[in-house]
Symmetry: C2
Subunit: 144 residues, 2 copies
DNA sequence: CCCATGTCAGTATTACTGACATTG
DNA sequence: CCAATGTCAGTAGTACTGACATGG
């Protein structure tokens, strides 16, 4: 019959973990003055300096319109700057953005560390690999 | 310094996996006429018949006001029924709701199965355990 | 010509906070 | 009295779809 058993469903466990992580991040990041979405974008821009808006959107799994709007806010906050015009616009952190991200990143790293407290190195690696594996597998058949 | 490296961050991998799963579920469930949130609530009500709205809210990690609103929609669709009054209201699936959930559940099970395609049983178990472990760990210190 | 991109606009979904009555 | 619950309202944050100009 292949139904979903809520207690052994990896999908449900995924949701639990994500919700808990998101709540923890939300709480800490709010103190720093960033939403989770803003933080994620800053992190990705820092990892790939000069990225385009469209690429950023793909990186955080939303439409380019959504990131476009988000970036507007980040620009007003002077956390990012856009270099280039027309179709060739590249995103970079401002010095202020880099500082803010550094602070946020440390806070998030602390949360992740606490979250992984009960897992040894080999389990962490296996978890990371498994998560990346299932994300890749699902992405293979994605319609959008 | 303990910063976040996007490529080895379990938090980011978690987000990737969750986004991919959510997108896949969203697509399939839409055909069945349910949102992901609605599906999740139905699944939880099925697993714990007679659950209260407040418990449901905790189970899906949102406010009781959010589930209250969601339940209104499910009632209009005749998928659930509420038994009891005042503070003692208990949620149950209607026959229609049970049928719809069964269909949705099979679709979601298929997605999960595809997603886990590359993982053997021992890895699946380890993944499940690790996810539940980190969710529990984070929940320990949650403010809300 | 085609496709990807940036961008403007409108809309919808969802969850949140605040507030209040009820009840064990 | 207190804490939890159900419930009504209002608000906000986020993402989506549609549409269009631009440029490689």
């Amino acid at each position: 019959m292949s139904q979903v058993d809520i207690d052994t469903s990896i999908g449900y466990a995924l949701k639990r973990a994500t919700s808990a992580l998101r709540a923890a991040m939300d709480e800490r990041l709010r103190e720093i003055g960033l939403t989770v979405s803003q933080y994620s974008s800053l992190e990705l821009i820092a990892a790939r300096p000069g990225v385009s808006n469209a690429d950023l959107a793909r990186g955080v799994f939303v439409s380019r319109q959504a990131t476009h709007q988000l970036l507007g806010g980040l620009r007003e906050l002077n956390l990012i700057e856009v270099i280039g015009e027309g179709r060739d616009q590249r995103l970079h952190l401002t010095p202020t953005g880099a500082r803010r991200l550094k602070e946020a990143s440390a806070a998030v790293a602390a949360i992740e560390e606490r979250m992984l407290d009960g897992l040894d190195q080999s389990r962490r690696k296996m978890l990371l690999d498994s998560l990346n594996d299932i994300a890749s597998t699902l992405a293979t058949h994605t319609t959008s």
